[in-house]
Structures are given as structure tokens and as C-alpha cells.
Amino acid sequence: MARIVACYKWVVDEADIRINPDRSVDLSKAKKKISDYDKCAIEAAVQTATAIGGKAVGLTFGTADARQSLKDALSRGLEEVYYINAEEAAQADGAATANALAAAIKKMEEVNLVICAEGASDTYQRQIAPRIGAVLDWPVATSVSKLEVTGNTLTAVRKLDDCLQTVKVELPAVVSVLPEINNPPIPTLKAVLAAGKKPVKEFSAGELNADLVPKTRVADLQGYVMSRKNLIFKDGEAVDQVKELVAALKKEGVI
């Protein structure tokens, strides 16, 4: 049965990131989540598999703690998840990540479509779909807002800065989808319970025989500090707050 593979990343929830006064970054309190955009990739894989009578499967490359993502991913309609469990994931750049994912895809049978999000919500590099396509030597369509599979052909609508493009692509292929492609539903309780019984196939880095050495080196991380006036009118009557605001905006010369 044709497999539709949705790639996803287990990421730090950026809402939990704390920036220390010296601008160092504190991730110690941060929970993790499936990257927001990847939920759309998973849903697109599930919808496409349903439409063509195929099998939607998940694929993730992460460290040991990405194991926590498996049940969440499976509750979103995927039939199985492939998990590359490798410490190298902690330092991976676009090159290493695409090599790992492509190597796992090569080990699966009957893959005819790989769906990624445009970018992950932590790094948002937007490299992985085109990189996987190049590593596998499969055709690629990025920025996809609509997709349909008929036989051995994918028809995709790409949303670019200046136009919408309809492209036809021979399968197997790799696509990246925009978040507007669908609205991933919140998993039902039944789906969450069923997720625990679904199969997980785990790969180690060694099994994949892929180059996981990053080609970029992170030299520094610093919290971004927004320098603004922060004049907040929080007390008193609304009418007076508005008066103060309008006076301030006039003084700024913006109204």
C-alpha cells in the first residue's frame, strides 16, 4: 500500500523560553511540542492517504526525549510512526536532518509522497523539504496550499509572493505545505487512546548509515531584547487612558 510520509519535529515551546537579564537563554522550564506547522503536514498526509486509499505514516528525527511525541503524533490519524532516535539530533542542522530523514525514507517501502511543513516552529529555516528531495533525487514542490494525487501524479498549487502556480509532479515526490492548507483537528479521546496501540518503528543513527555531522556551527545564542518605551496606561477611567494615548501619539507625530 502506498505510504504518505509526514515529517515532524519535536520542538521547544517558544512560549516557555525565558531570557535572562544578561540575554542568555533559559530553556530549562520549556515544555516540548510537535512543531505547530508540522500538525498541518500530518493532517495533509492523513487526508491524502484517505483520498487515495494509502497509508499515512509519521517520521521524526530526535533525541531520546522525542519519544514523548510518538503518542501525540499517532493520535492525529497516522497509522504508524518511524522514529530516528539519535543524540546527533541535538546539534543537527538542515543538512544532517535531511540526511537522517532521507535515509529513513529509503528504508521504508512504497513511499510515494513525503510531506513536510515549510519550516519548524523553532528554527524556521525552511530547508528540509527541498533538501530531502535533493538527497533522494525526487522532484520537489514547496509552498503548497493545495494538493491532489491522481494515479502517479501530484497536482499542487504553490503560493508564491507574486502568483499562484499550479504544478504537476511525478511521484514519488516531496512537498512542503503552508499552514493554510488545512485546519488540523484536536485529537478525540478515542484517537488518543487508540494511539498507544499503534506501531512505532525505531531507527538508531548507526542503522541509517547517514552523514549526521552538521555543516554549520552555532557560535552564539542571545535573547532578543525589544527596546520600547513601555508606557502602559492601566489605571483610571478608560476615557482618560484614551486621552493620554491620543496625546502621546500626536506628540510622536504618527496621527
Partner: protein, 301 residues
Amino acid sequence: MSGVYIFSDKNDIAAEIIGFAKSAGKDAILLVFDEQTAKVMGNSGADKIYLVNGESELVESYARSIAQLLREEGAELFAVGATPRGRDLAARVAVYLNCGMASDVSTLSCGDGQWLTQRIIYGGAVQQTEVLEGLAVVTIPGGKFEPVSGTGEMVNITLAADRRISLEETMPIGHQGADLSAAEKVVCVGMGLEKEEDMQLAKDLAAALGAEIGCTRGIAEERHWLPAERYIGISGAVIKPKLYISMGVSGQVQHVVGIRDSQVIVGIDINEKAPIFAAADYGIVGDMYEVVPLLIKALSE
């Protein structure tokens, strides 16, 4: 010819990257795909312009042969405008060159056989500095470097393309109203808005200010109250108006990254702890259903 190889489907970004290459003391070699662009870019300071001929209308489909050209010529960097086409092409070329890539960099400099880049991660909360050794690929958004002028030689070249993907149809995007990224004033609605009918309140405020209306991702993609082109943030529009006023926007970091370059930021929200206030010049902590009508009234006086 060694040097910085450049492509962008936006001519102004291509011109800025040429400016970067020249300021770094490197030769600038520009790739274009049609004669019109070759003509327009003729005086942009590029030392050499390759006019690429081939069988595909999709520039991304030339990734493999572009990589081969770069390798043969001894390129030092492939610098590409950060647009959907550019990012796609750049990432594929990086694979064929077996090299590192930094996406959407905010700064780029060179030194001693390496490239130093900065970019934002975690939705805008953190700035990351990366080092790329030797030949590398970067994508660069507009507005980072100054263009220069000067003419160079023009060379026609034929490259092979991936024919497994074909362009069937191109349609212009029907933008509703003006371009948000060019707007002088923007009123932004967030999830604090209770009902779709209440959009009228935002429209009235926008009318009183002469502003465009934007929104957060949730309003466009979960509630569908405004089209996707209207949402502001890391995966949406990045704006730089003189005045940005939000109503019912909590100010999550992914949204704030899209408004950072605004001259004056105003937040109106009922939750005193909403992160929008840390990102704002001015704020009113209060019920927007009470505050906004008063603001409209004050503005029309």
C-alpha cells in the same frame, strides 16, 4: 570565476546582495533567467551576469546544474534572495554542493575562509550566530544591504533542468486592499475579538486612522475572519508601519517578530500580563470593547 554567486526573483534583493559582495571585496556573479531581467540588472554592479537558458520555466528545477556551475567556477558563496522560490532553490543547491546553509539571515559577513551569519530562532525570541566554513549557501531578505552600480560582462549559458515537475498554470494573487508591508498605519485584531461581527470595530478604527487591517494567525487560519494574506508574524506578513495598534492581541513572539520594525507600537488588551505590552511603546490595559469606541471618538474630534 570565483566570488559570490547570486540569484533572486526580486531584482531589488539581487541588487542589494551584489552590493554586499562588492563591499566584501568579492566578485559578484548574478544568475538571471530572462532577457528583461538581464537588461534591468545591467547596471547593478555585477561583474558578470549569466543569462540562463533551459527547458523549464521553474528556476528551482535548475538546482543540480547550478550547483555544478558553482563548483566548476570555484564559487565562494551562493547568496539567494529569501523568497519562496529562492529558499527552495538554495536548499537544493546546498545539498548538491554538500555544504551548510543559513536561511533568512539578518547579518552576513566574511572573514578568513568562513561566513558569519545571524538569524532569529524560536519565533523571534533568540538571535543565533552561525559560522559556515568554506563554500556555503545563504538566503537573505530584502533591505539588508545597499545596492551599487556598474556594468559587467553578459554571458549566455544553457543549463539542464529537472523535467519531472511542470508548470501548468500561473495565476496572479488577488490581494484584497493595499499591501500590508507597505502600509503606513496598521490596526491589528487578535483572538480577543469575540465575534466575527465585531470586525466592524476594527474597520471603524482603521477608517478613523486611515489604516489597513491586519490580524494574528489565529484570526486568519483558525477562525477565517480575514484572508491568510492579512496575518502578521513570522510565517505571515512582516510590516514596518509608522503606527501599529493592536486590539485583543496577546503578543506571542511569532506575531511580535512581524511588527518589530514598526515606528510606534500600541497595544490594547484586557490582560495586563499580555506580552504585547512588553513589546509596545504605548498600551492601554482595558476592555477593547470599551476602549476602542472611545479611541475612535477621540480620533474623529
